[in-house]
């Protein structure tokens, strides 16, 4: 079993236009590709290069560029190598096609991304709630969602130095180091 990405993968990738290939490692390849060409690329990788395992689909929110980056991690058992295919889609309306017909595990990843980022995948079998079944707010992993502000609005905080703690402090217990002291930088 070869431990390097085989040269025929390079030949294969030359069949698609608009592809930027960066070899990160002997067993890792990063491919940046236009969003329209991704299904073609995946079909080639799966059908002709043995990349049968879709490990994950990852989403990155680039809010300043108003884009979502989707990363498809593909693993080949034959050449023991990982290909990560990166695409960028527009943040609004945030719609992309599903790759469920190529890789069935994609259904779960797409459902998760839909829940966390609000990206809609056309043709995915189920876009209903996955883990956050009891969450009614905006998709929480989007950069514009301010979790800290939401928490401060929803919850109350316990008093940090209540009266009963002073009694314990007098007995020699209590807080050894306050957060203010811990945050002070050493000179």
């Amino acid at each position: 079993m070869s431990k390097t990405v085989t040269p025929w993968l390079d030949n294969l990738l030359q069949e698609i236009e608009g592809v930027e290939i960066r070899r990160k490692d002997s067993r890792r390849v990063r491919i940046d590709i236009a969003a329209d060409s991704l299904p073609t690329l995946l079909e080639l990788l799966r059908g002709r290069a043995g990349y049968v395992h879709l490990s994950a689909i990852t989403c990155v929110d680039w809010i300043d560029e108003s884009q979502f980056e989707l990363v498809y991690q593909l693993w080949s058992y034959e050449s023991q190598s990982l290909v990560s295919a990166h695409i960028r889609i527009a943040r609004e309306p945030g719609v992309y096609v599903s790759v469920f017909d190529l890789y069935q595990p994609a259904a779960f990843f797409e459902r998760d991304i839909h829940e966390m980022f609000g990206v809609y995948f056309e043709g995915s079998p189920d876009m209903s709630k996955f883990i956050l079944t009891e969450w009614n707010g905006p998709p929480p992993m989007r950069k514009e969602f301010d979790a800290e502000a939401w928490v401060n609005e929803t919850f109350e905080w316990k008093e940090y130095q209540p009266d009963w703690l002073k009694e314990i402090t007098e007995q020699g217990g209590g807080i050894v180091k306050t957060p203010e002291e811990a945050r002070q930088k050493k000179p």
Binding site: T133, E134, P140, F145, E148, V151, F155, E156, K158
Partner: protein
């Protein structure tokens, strides 16, 4: 369904005539503190400190504390670590299933004030807003020695009668329910009839009912009998659909 009248004797109706009642109370409290069944709801990482506390090294059982498998047989509900909002619903359901007297212990910093998940949208911050916590064991995570120290403290409090969180839940149910509704929405309901239980234990106070319990009664849907489906040779049969 046929209604059956079962006479319920409340403690208000019973007059305490036995001159030894207080002695018995003391004895009962002593026995309670010496045999505690613990339901550990392992929500977070703090659960990892419990196996050494329970097994031969620190041996919790010599204090009369044992793990128990079901909430209905347990005395202590041990919340070990952060509670996500989803988990909190299940924790409340579990707590309301336990028979009184029942005690709640919050282990780890997360149950006190959110801990390291303080800015997370998914975790509840203060456990004692939703359940009456009798004792916190702070630390991230507390060592088994600290867990045992906390258990000893709880035993002392049970013996002296200070550990009355479960009574507080009945007395101030409206406040607890209000916090729960704030997090879960107005249609939040549990199968337990807490107000009925409160009047049964003669613990119903001015804080038991209020605006939040009225909201609960407005939104309450009657519980439906559980339906079980199973398949035999191609035809779908239904079991247990009604008790008439």
């Amino acid at each position: 369904m046929k209604e059956i009248d079962i006479p319920i004797e409340t403690s208000a109706a019973k007059r305490r005539t036995n001159p030894l009642a207080r002695v018995f109370d003391e004895l009962v409290r002593f026995c309670r503190s010496r045999s505690m069944f613990m339901l550990h709801y392992c929500t977070g990482c703090g659960a990892i400190e419990l196996p050494p506390a329970m097994t031969s090294r620190f041996d919790m059982e010599r204090l009369g504390i044992q793990p128990m498998v079901t909430p209905r047989q347990a005395d202590i509900l041990l919340i070990t670590g952060y509670v996500s909002i989803k988990t909190l619903k299940r924790v409340i359901l579990t707590y309301e299933q336990m028979g009184s007297p029942k005690y709640v212990i919050g282990i780890c910093s997360c149950t006190v004030n959110g801990g390291m998940y303080w800015q997370s949208y998914a975790t509840a911050k203060q456990l004692d807003q939703y359940l009456p916590v009798d004792l916190y064991i702070a630390g991230c995570m507390p060592r088994p020695e600290a867990v045992l120290e906390g258990m000893r403290k709880l035993m002392d409090r049970i013996r002296s009668g200070e550990a009355d969180g479960w009574e507080d839940y009945y007395r101030r149910y409206d406040w607890y329910l209000g916090n729960q509704q704030h997090l879960f929405g107005d249609d939040w309901q549990t199968p337990a009839d807490v107000i009925g239980e409160a009047s049964h234990y003669d613990l119903a106070g001015p804080g038991t009912e209020g605006e939040h319990t009225r909201l609960l009664q407005q939104c309450q849907k009657p519980l439906e009998p559980q339906q079980t489906f199973f398949q035999i040779g191609g035809s779908l049969e239904k079991k247990g659909e009604s008790h008439e």
